[in-house]
Symmetry: C2
């Protein structure tokens, strides 16, 4: 079909009322008709999202490999209990190690991205060793210490598996407040690792319950009675030959969680466990044999490591949201409910304006998170490259550091709002599937439970938003003093023109331009950051210290971070769309991006009206345009989710099948997962005695006559 | 302690900086100090919330009974699998039937309310028989049919247990669209119940998998080839002596769900199952032996039955939110994180302004839902009483019917927004507990999963909001024509004064008055309803039919319903506070109610600014006052949740213990639930071969020397 013919077909599809009559209740036909109206080359969009045809094919190959790998079987997972899930998860190590040792880092990263969608619990369990344990060695070990642990098998998993023992029962976010101690004993040249209180018990330690032989332990360094703060130590936990815990190490199982039960979180208590001095990781602070503590001249630059985790979580939020939306939107394209008065054929959920309102803005948001994640990944790689190659007296270094700080703060907000957005998307898709969304087998319930932890770990979301807000206030105060800020907060250098600015367009229609949306966000962000900064300065003026003042204006910080982050997401999306070469792909994404822009303005209407960037009349127009754009995007909704290109195996939900044949597959899966029991469960023990118990005052002669009710019942004749 | 002394103590507690020094890390002491500052008589508030001392004591007795009843054991439930949970749940029937047969209806209702907090799965399973099966008989059976089924054992559960087979695989909300057929066969005087397609399979039927002997089946009545719509039929499913399914009945298990796994949902297919004619429930439509169909003159008034379910769900939303908040707030009163620069003692979460922002408005909302639930319960009982006693020519009847319609529509919105609010509250409390919120044992994860279904069943929330919005538009149009509306929508009779009205207060401080808040809501609601009605009329003017026009403006309907419902909640709360006799209780609730009013205005700031009831400056003041009121309410937060008066057994979360002793009890529960395994799970099968596998190119001589790392590692000396 040529482009013109296709467009003609689309137009007919959109306008012909005859087409309505061809509708049928058959879900496959319902799905097929959706694809007939596709306005763009789906494959081109997939290539663009993936970063090129090569990567699309790589991912397709991987999806097929996983689907065929019995260890990665998915359709029975909802009925496995915690112990079965953990064992299944451990089995996957064998398979993944093979790939780890045989493919390039970039290829393997793609594999890991897919694993996060297939089995988030395994993703975590594997990540505990590879990202956290080995990551800690890379950040905190001296080169020779690193060599030592790598030779011992840390990378190849020969003879050892690591875990990461940071959080304690009484302390999560506050790492400097951890209670576990590492006391240096000079004569012995050893550290004594000790859990002094119940709350010092290492808690939530992934891999500790069943898997790990070694732990990176965060503990308070104490030398000659003096405390030097929290440092990292490698502490052996178990004999790798027998898996018995070593003397002084007590390990327990954290047990059942909301989700990710494939990972064996545990708790650990140390009772005066001795480790050699060199098990302290000494890249930064060093302790000599004689008990001399050498502290680093400069606080280590940890931005890099933190950034990497956050970038990964933005990407994961985008991917998980795409998976949830594939299910919610495909189901809405075949599910029908209520017939219009003039028809026997019920209406598709997706044709209801309210259902479009539920799902289309979230689809747009998934794209925004996607483009943001991609751009952040690139930016991160660039920056790290620059940092690695730069010399301290490089003239551009200041600018790189400034950009790094800005990205660091922005990424804190992005991690928070993207994980919240994704969790919200999953739940909205689940509810949009009606009752079937409550079934374990349709996938969204488990997805919610697995994903929920992302809002807490790697920095509690609320705390991260406050960090982002703090950076915004500081940037504002620097801008006031004339400092040129990094591009991401560059709008704070234009306060003079932005504060008080109103949307000056000749017509309502003229609002629908990316430059207007973008300016609106700059104006609103400048205002809310200014407002937060004024609150902060008022607190200072009233005699509060800096920390108290920041606490006091934390709601304003959160609000500033929220708007800054939404603006950032919109701008990355708009930039990303500009870069799309294919015209028709760009056209459809332009609509989606405009929907995202207007929807987020509507969601934050209070701010846009508060600072009078838009008038109430303009805002009313925007609300109406969101409805219009939902309808426009709905026309391409199925091709758009098709472009995410997840195979039915990855989707793992009958409701999200590519072919739309939802009912038969859902029914078959429920039957497969729940074969008829051999005996009626607990009938003899519980039900029969209940039904046959004698009740005071009851006749004995009302014996069952199921098929012949009394004829005196007939009062109607 | 006298009132004055207590107030003095409170003042000291609030102002004394000395008090800070008395803080200790001990969680019990942290909790105790919270109660020292109580400004009101907690017991009085409890009596008020419960509806009197007698009911408080009744509930306390019941909580104790449940706690001592081994069938209602709670602390092991998180580790029971689906099959164990179902069996445990069935066991409880025995216990609850005893109470059902021996206590008054009102007393038993209180018991059921508690059961919903203790075991929502059992609440549903029991409710399927008592509310749905028997409820259907009451609504749809003739008196002699009712007598027949009651004599057969429907109430006493002797020889039969019922289920409610309405929803099908392909149809949920659209009851008239159900596909199951009930075809009358004249000669045989029987109906043939049949499942014609896969999508007609009865689906989600609670109790069908293991429990029920009989079903109320919703099916299309067909007589002499003509369809008469969906009616109810009693269909026997199983032989109560053997529990074998009867000929033509196929039953399967729906299996694993997001939550409430104690209820055995099943699916049912009927293959030409014959039932006697009198198994059709004929209170409304009747079919004679000769195949004459007698349809009712008037459509039955089903408002009553629907209302009862919705009132119950508002009450349940309030109660479940209270339970979640007891956990979240008590934990925040003892959990400490980060020490201020001038102190060794870390700060309580509850003392962080941002944490107050997270939980205090939700606490206020729980009170709003409580007062609304109570008032609706009363109103419902009154109305039903009036309806039962009224004669058709009663002059007040019109007014009662009008009020009933209004309450019906408002209750649709309340069911939707209260269940959404409660679900949101649970998740916010869970996230506010940080990492520990992800543990199954802290209770909030399971609470979320159990509660989530409330947003879908008994009317999908989104559809209910649209019904509410439709009623508002219709009311607006009637008001324009001069009709006097029911009190709940009375503001639509004042459009002339409300549209365009602005907040006319002399000072910002004067905003803080219930009358101002209330007026603001009336103005905003009048505007958004008007706006929705204009959109609707524009659609009609453009040639749409009524149904399409309503669909087209569904976003405006939802928005109108949202604001109307929030206003309703605020007004019920404000009215409720007025009625509190105890002065100090009223004082604290006045603060809580003002927080709720301002918080909901802030949440809907776009509407208040859009219609210019508040100026941007006033809105800024309101935002700041929410912060202030969060701090005020925080001071009484622990006494306020104490007043909910749930025992530790009901709370069933170490984090929500009354005594604040969270860590030791959490630790002990995790240990109890996860005793050390006898063997290292899957070590021999999976871990050992992995650790000991030979890797290409790896030396054999890096044998383990755990305690003696190489000395060349020492690069730092």
């Amino acid at each position: 079909m040529t482009g013109n013919k296709r467009l003609e077909a689309v137009r007919q599809h959109l306008t012909s009322s005859e087409d309505q009559k061809a509708h049928t209740l058959d879900p496959i036909a319902s799905m097929n008709e959706e694809r007939k109206g596709t306005s763009f080359d789906v494959r081109q969009l997939t290539y663009h999202l993936d970063g090129g045809e090569r990567i699309t094919k790589l991912k397709e190959n991987m999806m097929l490999e996983f689907e065929r790998d019995p260890l990665f079987k998915l359709d029975d997972i909802h009925d496995l209990n915690k112990d079965q899930l953990r064992e299944r998860t451990m089995e996957k190590f064998r398979s993944i190690l093979h790939h780890f040792q045989n493919e390039s880092v970039d290829t393997f990263k793609k594999r890991i991205e897919l694993i996060s969608l297939i089995d988030p619990g395994f993703w975590t369990r594997f990540g505990v060793h590879y990202a956290l344990f080995i990551g800690s060695l890379q950040s905190n070990a001296t080169p020779s210490q690193m060599t030592y642990w790598f030779q011992k098998g840390a990378v190849s998993l020969s003879g050892m598996i690591g875990c990461f023992a940071m959080t304690e029962l009484g302390h999560g976010s506050n790492v400097p407040g951890l209670e576990t101690t590492a006391t240096f004993e000079e004569g012995a040249n050893q550290f004594i690792i000790h859990t002094p209180t119940l709350t010092a018990t290492k808690w939530w330690i992934g891999g500790a319950a069943h898997t790990a032989t070694h732990a990176i332990v965060f503990a308070q360094l104490i030398v000659r009675g003096k405390r030097y703060g929290t440092k990292c130590f490698v502490v052996p936990l178990r004999d790798p030959k027998t898996y018995e815990t070593l003397p002084g190490v007590t390990i327990g199982d954290i047990g059942k969680k909301m989700g990710r039960d494939g990972i064996d979180n545990g708790w650990i208590q140390f009772s005066n466990v001795r480790i050699p001095r060199n098990h302290m990781l000494m890249k930064h602070t060093k302790v000599t044999e004689l008990g001399k503590v050498i502290e680093p001249k400069l606080q280590q630059l940890t931005y890099g490591a933190l950034l990497q985790g956050r970038v990964a979580m933005v990407v994961d939020s985008a991917n998980t949201a795409k998976k949830a939306l594939t299910i919610g939107i495909r189901y809405a394209a075949v599910r029908r409910q209520f017939a219009p008065t003039n028809s026997d054929i019920e209406t598709k959920l997706l044709d209801y304006p309210i259902h479009q309102r539920r799902l289309m803005p979230l689809l747009a948001q998934a794209f925004a998170m996607h483009f943001t994640g991609s751009e952040m990944t690139e930016m991160y790689n660039d920056m790290m490259g620059q940092l690695d190659s730069a010399t301290p007296d490089d003239p551009d270094m200041d600018q790189v550091i400034e950009a790094l700080k800005e990205t660091h703060a922005t990424s804190a907000g992005l991690k928070a709002f993207c994980t919240w957005n994704c969790l919200h998307t999953i739940e909205q898709c689940r509810q949009a599937c009606g009752g079937h969304g409550y079934s374990a087998y349709t996938g969204l319930a488990g997805m919610y439970n697995d994903f929920a932890v992302q809002c807490t770990w790697e920095g509690d979301n609320t705390i991260l938003t406050l960090q982002s807000g703090r950076y915004l206030i500081n940037s504002y105060r620097e801008a006031i003093k004339g400092k040129k800020l990094a591009p991401g907060v560059g709008y704070l250098n234009e306060l003079g023109t932005l504060i008080g600015k109103r949307c000056a367009v000749p017509t309502l229609q003229a609002i629908l331009h990316p430059d207007v949306i973008s300016e609106g966000w700059r104006v609103v962000c400048a205002n809310v950051v200014k407002n937060a900064a004024i609150q902060f300065e008022t607190c200072l003026a009233n005699g509060m210290d800096v920390d108290d003042a920041f606490e006091e204006c934390s709601q304003a910080r959160l609000y500033a971070a929220r708007l800054h982050t939404y603006a950032y997401l919109y701008n990355r999306f708009a930039d990303g769309v500009q870069k799309v070469a294919d015209e028709r792909v760009r056209a459809v994404l332009t609509d989606v991006c405009m929907l995202y822009g207007l929807y987020t303005i509507e969601e934050n209407d209070g701010a846009f009206l508060q600072y009078e960037y838009f008038t109430p009349q303009q805002m009313q127009f925007i609300r109406a345009q969101v409805n219009v754009l939902c309808k426009v995007v709905r026309q391409q909704a199925i091709p758009l989710v098709d472009a995410f290109n997840f195979s039915d195996y990855i989707i793992n939900s009958a409701l999200g099948r590519f072919d739309g044949n939802v009912y038969i597959h859902y029914f078959e899966q429920v039957k497969r997962a729940n074969p008829p029991p051999r005996d009626h469960p607990y009938f003899e023990r519980l039900i029969k005695p209940l039904l046959e118990r004698r009740i005071r005052g009851q006749d004995d002669d009302d014996e069952d006559d199921e098929d012949e009710p009394e004829s005196d019942l007939d009062d109607q004749e």
